[in-house]
Subunit: 365 residues, 4 copies
């Protein structure tokens, strides 16, 4: 495979840049506004540093995670993204296949190209619900997910409104005509075809709408897009099953706090009553472990697996997950962490020193 | 309109750079000394980050503001600037027209090119008073503003003395001969013509001079250029109607504290007894909301609307305000803020991490 | 000598870069992952600043150090590195000769090219033990070191597992065929020849393995690779003779805390009961003294002496040590420190200001 | 004058760079080691920010200072530097003339090219004493200074030992043959000629040597080169007349704390019993006022006046002082400071934000 030569996620990013035209790249890489939010997620993670305890003597760390009852081989999920048809002719199918092969859960977007039936055949999944159309439309979509054995409903609360994605606009991005919305068709909400630049009627995800969803389903409800501890506390009180700390990869609002920096406050607000997941800026196994040490149960990756998809389809996605697995094994061994289910908080500290890259020639050959 | 393709205020800045010769650009963009103050205002704002509460479910936020009784459509005013004849043949007129169209207040400089009568015809305004000539001259100018229904007198206290604007000097800036001072003529202070490099006799704005102004007018008196909390406390005690936290856009002193960083101390000193406004470095709707969250009632923009004026006249100014409006609507929705009259302080936090721009190719297409 | 023109360790680094091909350079300069850890060690040291007391009047400071009883002329040791055959045909021999000439201790790696007998002839040394093969193999290696009068056994605990050294992989580094492992042959563990990319069977260095080593030897046991204060406390309790704070020069894990920044916590945990040494990022005499002021008894240097070896063999190594000696004498005089055995903590403070390099022309001729 | 076009001290720096060959420039601009110390002094000053109180209404601030009884027109002295013959054929004479014309004190180096008699004729001065030769030699030099009405003896304590000035060495700097040491000849210590690279026998400046000097003279003794508060406290106890906080412009030790950052601790240690002066990194009137606000009575400038000397002789030195005077008047007016003898501490605050220079085109024409 071409991706065998790609050693870390930065390599996959470069490979995807090469594989994609400017407009698709801008759609994938860009965020809201000046893209400060995108970079800030990563920069904030690099400020957190690790303090290993190697004498613990961990040769074969357990990287498994219990993700709301699903025995994931890694504390990693694939964040919902769309339209994946931009990056691969088969869109979600190779993503779900790779996730299944790797033993992790994909979160399937309500805006997928394929029908949920086709996607569900690839392996277990969480379903990310948007509230299109009438309450009956939403209820039908929930029933569809339930019938196909979705393990949880993910409710994204941070993009109820369109955002100002300037990089995308500047690159002249437009949804290409081959993109379809298979779940829309399957749930009976529409014929699955959306003319470019159409904004579909979607209910903003409010407390009331969340109540409605919780009443309609027996599935665990996971709320994605939480940054404020007061919201986390309220969500715990309302009985959601988990929250995902996220600023939507910097795609909704340019000036939010970094996900990793607000994670500790959310974990404190959740007070151990529900699991806290996190996404935003995860680019290595060390990043995953930093999040776990700060209290996350698992993380989601978004752009990284799409890099893999764009570079090499299913194998690319699998390789991205596999690189993270190798890095997690490596970091866990070096840290002396026997199980990623229990990463002590005292293994991370925050540094005051920015890393500045000195002369180019120094560390590169 | 040409400015339809300009998506944020950075774009307007670039457009203005293209439209202006070096000397005018230096006049507009430069500040005092090394221009540290100019950059510092912006850099400090980028350190403040937002924590949204999207589940509040705000689809249609109220962006209106009560600006000393004026029902502004935005918590934004246009800061007094001059000479605008440098940037447009009609100088203040398109600015005031655009402000009126947009439903915000311009603060009309005492050094305007046109008569106040002509400017006042474009819509409601605040008048920014300098104390030229005798006390009778000043009183006549106040009477003129009152007779034309100025909603407030703005007294700028931070440029009683000329500053060392090196960028301007290096670029060889000289006031071009077509610049006139219409309000000077109208108030009877002079014939409205000032030879280049002439420094007009102006009273420094001291506590005594402020008392004099307050005694002479029934208009609300707003003091612009406050950075020290002790001054804010004294101004409250002396009964001014509002203060504007400002370092004059970095144009007076290169080494001042950033406006946004001293705002909280000024708000604390005002203790809720008068409104606190702020200017300096505002370049986006997110910046406006950060200032509101830290206690400001409204902000002023200076350079940004002049970029619009230079790029496309009245339409350019209108578009700059409109971009801010769209950004404010966007940010308020994302944050879950239903009214800009009440932005909770806990929506902002300060980050320790500078955003560093990694390789160029990453986020740009 | 060519190295007479090299004035500080940066100069030796540049000279080594010139002397080495890309793959060898990548092996030497690179670390794990993105090389953040390599740079972070140095950047963190530059944040610590000195406060001299020159009136103490120290003309002739004593740079000597008691290194577990060895009267070292400097508080500096040469860290174990391998394979040195990459950088010089005689590998360890010129290193040990230079160390002996300079009056400092080399820490001889278990993976040396030459036999320990040959190396030991060059002068006193510490022996760094890896646990290859059976417990009998390890015991024989310990006996060999004891019989050749090793002054201490250094047990490296932070590389029990291979690390992800991407710079090296990208440069296509492979161990060249001339590399041999003389101590492996001498101890009877193997024939001393390791095919490229072979991972030899090595016991991870756990608490139990450490107990085994301590039981087998009367030599002082020094544990290298400690970053967590809890590990330091436990090592004191288990009776080791010293610890070396180290992140293996950033070669094992990209995201660890900088050695200098965790040193104070380790010193506190050791509570004066055993000496604490440190390595990682030491590039000048000032760096050495910062470590001493923060509680270290001595430091190790790694890459710097290999730069000297690559640039000029034994003389290069000697010159690197000699540059440090001159710098240490200089800094001690400037600080008013009469003996490096007692550097007061109040001579160092941490600064909030990054040093930014302004225009190139300013300080360079 | 050529220097009329030079608007701030940065301009003089550039002019001097143009006027000097590489070796002289390296001597002037460079410091010890990597030149971190040189840059750090300036970077630290830029972190301190001002909070003006313009309503105080200061039109004509008093810039005068009482410098141990000397009525200086500015709180500025010219730091002792040598050999000035490198930068001007007349060496110290134009410096002392310019200082006298400007109403400030030069501190005349013991290593001056001219005789102290010739220099003293140019105007009042402080004399900076090095302890060459025997105690009788030193006593004769003190008597010489007293007889020529030196107003104080400055004792530099931070360069008792040569430092590692790498920039200078790399540029191949050697003292040119025309350099003489007029005061050495005049005091009878030597014939005034020093072969290149000769290190003259000089007593290190210790507590004992300081006692000796204090016993030998009735002149006020000022100690230059203090960075540690414990030294400041001891100097107060020993009855010195003033201290100068200084790291010798970064020329002695690359890693010292910035002068401005240690100033508050020294002022606290002096406890108001003696004046505290400061040098290091002063490049503007704002920098001077920051030092005064943090407790300094006056500052010294070094490199800046030598830039003036190299660029335009006496007029250049005068203009450098005059630029500072104009800047001080400007800053004092903007701050509302009526006298530089009393700059309130609450006018300065330290910022967490580094100023980053955005795109080049933005603020420059």
């Amino acid at each position: 495979m071409i991706t065998d030569r790609l050693l870390n996620l930065d390599d996959f990013e470069r490979a995807a840049r090469t594989a994609l035209d400017d407009a698709r790249w801008a759609y994938l890489a860009g965020g809201a506004g000046r893209d400060d939010g995108v970079r800030h997620n990563e920069a904030a993670l690099r400020r957190w540093k690790l303090r290993p305890r190697p004498l613990n003597g961990v040769a074969d760390p357990d990287t498994g995670a219990d993700v709301l009852g699903f025995p994931s081989t890694l504390p990693v999920l694939l964040a919902p993204t769309s339209p994946l048809r931009l990056f691969h002719p088969e869109a979600e199918l190779p993503v779900s296949r790779a996730a299944n092969r790797a033993g992790v859960l994909p979160i399937v977007s309500n805006d997928s190209h394929h029908s949920l039936t086709d996607i569900a055949e690839q392996g277990p999944f969480w379903f990310q619900l948007y509230c299109y159309g009438s309450r009956d439309d939403v209820t039908r979509t929930i029933r569809l997910a339930e019938s196909l054995d979705a393990r949880a409903l993910v409710v994204t609360v941070d993009n109820s409104h369109p955002s100002r994605r300037l990089a995308m606009l500047r690159a002249g991005f437009a949804t290409p005509p081959e993109v379809r919305f298979g779940i829309h068709r399957e749930s009976g909400f529409s014929d699955g075809w959306v003319p470019p630049d159409t904004r579909l009627p979607r209910w903003p995800l409010t407390w009331e709408q969340l109540d409605f969803i919780q009443e309609r389903t027996g599935l665990p409800v996971v709320v994605k897009g939480v940054l404020h501890p007061a919201d986390a506390a309220e969500l715990v009180a309302r009985g959601v099953s988990a929250v995902i700390v996220s600023n939507h990869g910097g795609r909704q609002l340019d000036d939010t706090v970094a996900a990793i920096d607000t994670l500790p406050a959310i974990v404190a607000a959740a007070a151990g009553r529900i699991p806290v997941l996190m996404d935003g800026g995860i680019r290595s196994g060390a990043d995953v472990i930093k999040a776990l040490a700060l209290g996350a149960t698992a993380v989601c990756i978004g752009r990284p697996y799409v890099w893999g998809l764009a570079a090499d389809g299913e194998d690319g996605v699998f390789r991205v997950i596999d690189v993270l697995r190798q890095e997690l094994l490596d970091v866990a061994r070096q840290l002396g962490v026997s199980s990623l289910r229990d990463v002590p908080t005292d293994l991370v500290v925050r540094t005051a020193t920015e890393i500045t890259v000195d002369e180019e020639w120094r560390c590169s050959a």
